[in-house]
């Protein structure tokens, strides 16, 4: 049974399952019970952002399916040479591993945050940010390698020009998301470290009180960026 906490301290029970959803939506005040404004906003934002990435990926797929010139072979283009052996998708595999792992540390950070374990929360957030930064760094390496091989947004040595255009646009847009994520992770880490969320210090811009829930909201964004990468990985590199 789910419970709704009221502001005068009492709780009341809500039904489970579909009946519960119907009851919540036909109730007053809130459609999503016990969901804060911030968390609801992040979910709606992510839904909107999903449509942006969806449009990018669909546009790329349209270009790829309708092109009359050959599409470059992803496993060769994105291969790395270890000694004399060419390993397909090596760098991308490492990047993917790092980013997925960062989702793990992010989830741990959220857990520690709700336990009010400041030290571990900060440590986990910093670890997440570090892995995010590593990801962006490796992406920069990948970009410069491809650029040095002659890939440009308007042409490349192996086939359809849309390969380079889509690649730089989609990974660039995703990389920007990761970069912003890292910046905000650092801000949240600083706030946790200073104890802003324990004291409910007001935000500099918004003048809203800080709360440990911000770690979770940050986590929602981070997991989303991670999930988007899975789709980019599947549609761009594996296809």
């Amino acid at each position: 049974m789910a419970e709704t906490l009221t502001s005068n301290g009492t709780t009341h029970q809500r039904p489970d399952g579909l009946r519960g959803i119907a009851a919540d939506w036909s109730s007053d005040q809130r459609a999503f019970k016990n969901v804060s404004w911030g968390k609801a906003m992040m979910w709606v934002f992510l839904l909107s952002d999903t449509f942006i990435f969806g449009c990018f990926l669909l546009a790329y797929m349209t270009a790829r399916m309708s092109t009359t010139v050959p599409w470059p072979n992803a496993s060769e283009v994105f291969g790395l040479h270890v000694g004399d052996v060419s390993v397909p998708l090596l760098l991308i595999a490492i990047m993917t591993f790092v980013l997925i792992s960062s989702s793990g540390t992010m989830a741990m950070a959220v857990n520690f945050a709700y336990r009010r374990n400041r030290r571990m929360t900060v440590l986990m957030i910093l670890l997440t940010a570090l892995m995010g930064a590593t990801f962006v760094g490796m992406q920069a390496f990948e970009w410069s390698k491809l650029i040095s091989e002659g890939v440009r947004p308007w042409e490349n040595p192996w086939g359809a020009a849309q390969f380079g255009s889509s690649f730089f646009m989609i990974t660039g847009f995703h990389g920007t998301h990761v970069t912003f994520g890292v910046i905000f992770l650092l801000i949240v880490a600083r706030k946790v470290w200073r104890g802003d969320y324990d004291r409910g210090t007001r935000g500099f811009f918004t003048s809203r009180r800080g709360d440990y829930e911000h770690v979770e909201i940050m986590g929602l964004y981070w997991h989303f960026v991670d999930l988007v990468w899975v789709f980019i990985f599947a549609f761009f590199y594996l296809w």
Binding site: T6, H12, W25, V44, S48, C55, A59, A161, Q162, T206
Partner: protein
Amino acid sequence: MVDVTPGSRDAVPPAEVPDVELYHPHSWWTTYVFSQDAKVIAIQYAGTAMAIGFVALVLSWLMRLQLGFPGTFDFITPEAYYQFITMHGMIMVVYLLTALFLGGFGNYLIPLMVGARDMVFPYANMLSYWIYLLAVLVLVASFFAPGGPTGAGWTLYPPQAILSGTPGGQDWGILLMLFSLILFIIGFTMGGLNYVVTVLQARARGMTLMRLPLTVWGIFTATVMALLAFPALFVACVMMLFDRLLGTSFFMPALVEMGEQLSYGGGSPILFQHLFWFFGHPEVYIVALPAFGIVSDLISTHARKNIFGYRMMVWAIVAIGALSFIVWAHHMYVSGMHPYFGFFFATTTLIIAVPTAIKVYNWVLTLWRGDIHLSLPMLFALAFIVTFVNGGLTGLFLGNVVVDVPLSDTMFVVAHFHMVMGVAPIMVIFGAIYHWYPKITGRMLNDAMGHFHFWVTFIGAYAIFFPMHYVGLVGVPRRYPELGETAFIPDSVHDLNAFITVAALIVGFAQMVFLFNLFWSLRYGKEAGGNPWRATTLEWQTPQTPPAHGNWGKELPVVYRWAYDYSVPGAPQDFIAQNDPGPPNLPRHA
């Protein structure tokens, strides 16, 4: 007010969220300029939207002067004409209608109508306006940029949009347009998240979703749609920017320009059209749904009768919102896409007529045997219904592939969409301004000027757009600055064009009277009091008029009933406010 007599009505559930602590401004700047109060932001949004809308209005006069009296005005070159068309269309659809309905009415009415103190994220809400203003300024800058604004048509179809033959294509015009749209979308998203979360999560005690005034339902659904449709435009803008600046070929096929092979190749112009209309068609309903919602409330209030079929009205709004995402390619019947697509999209397009017709019938049935007060808001609401039905009927022509093909790109299309998404929503905007002006300023708008404004605008709009249907049916293409001596065009078309131009100038003049009225009544209007229309919804029950910062004074309102308790038998007056528990033995509604 809050005490509940047991047995006579349901107890209102206790508060789940503690009352918010608002940001209190400390200076004149943070009170009136960088304000975080949704009501101030709403007025800023509305003022900016109307200012830029005025520019678009002037552009329409210039276009009409050229069409009505071709060759008379030397400064209107074909290039200038295309620029006028483009800027007129884009400003009216995005920067005026979308911004005014969602940023203006949304900001003002949502917190008041749901019984909240403010939007849930006032700071992001403030940013939303300033980014919108920046988008408008970037757009205006293109008038002064070398080469002038883009002349690509408001749909910005590539490849022509970024080629040198189109005004602004190889200059600043198209770039500034795309930057401006991207900014608009970012700004709108900040506001849109606010509107959605405020409606879902910050309602008053007792305010269930099915007690919301339809205005809120319309704005809420439109905002959800905008948050899902604008991404497609965002992506299209980014890709076209890359095509123009980096030389990518997302939308650009191999082509020869001025005898020279361009470096583009392999891109798909149709891809752009799909992305654009995946935004563009929901956009029509992003503008229409708030109008549907607002007009429902105007009709109910001014006919002193509950809205007919409230639940059906809500579900029709939601159904229209959902369906509008699967009809976009009816704008592309002649684009060369697969003909089977046309079959699918014609079917879905005609299905939308069902929920839309439900709404029209319900408005008419609300009026039926109502106590109709022919106040200005009601006059505009009636004008809306008539105009919307007119525009909707021509929509049936254009929604069918075989009828659309000969009519496509004629003035018939221009007449159709100006009726259905130009004149009709504008009528609602006027009605809404006459309705809520007393709440916003504390004074009534002048009635005499208002009646002049209404009759000239209403009759004038028909004088403009009815003949245009005929002009289109005889085959006059749209977007041609001059028809010349074309053989198939009869003389009557030229006469009609001159007539339309004169009508358009007269209607334009009436808008000046309206603008004057807005300022004049601020000072000299009749004192309105808190609830001049004797309306039920919460915004009329605020302790102060205009409502103060925080809207409600010390106590948040508690809602006991739906928004449409007009002329309830046995009630002491002909309306019962939503926060009025009412006499204990009264039958309860919804």
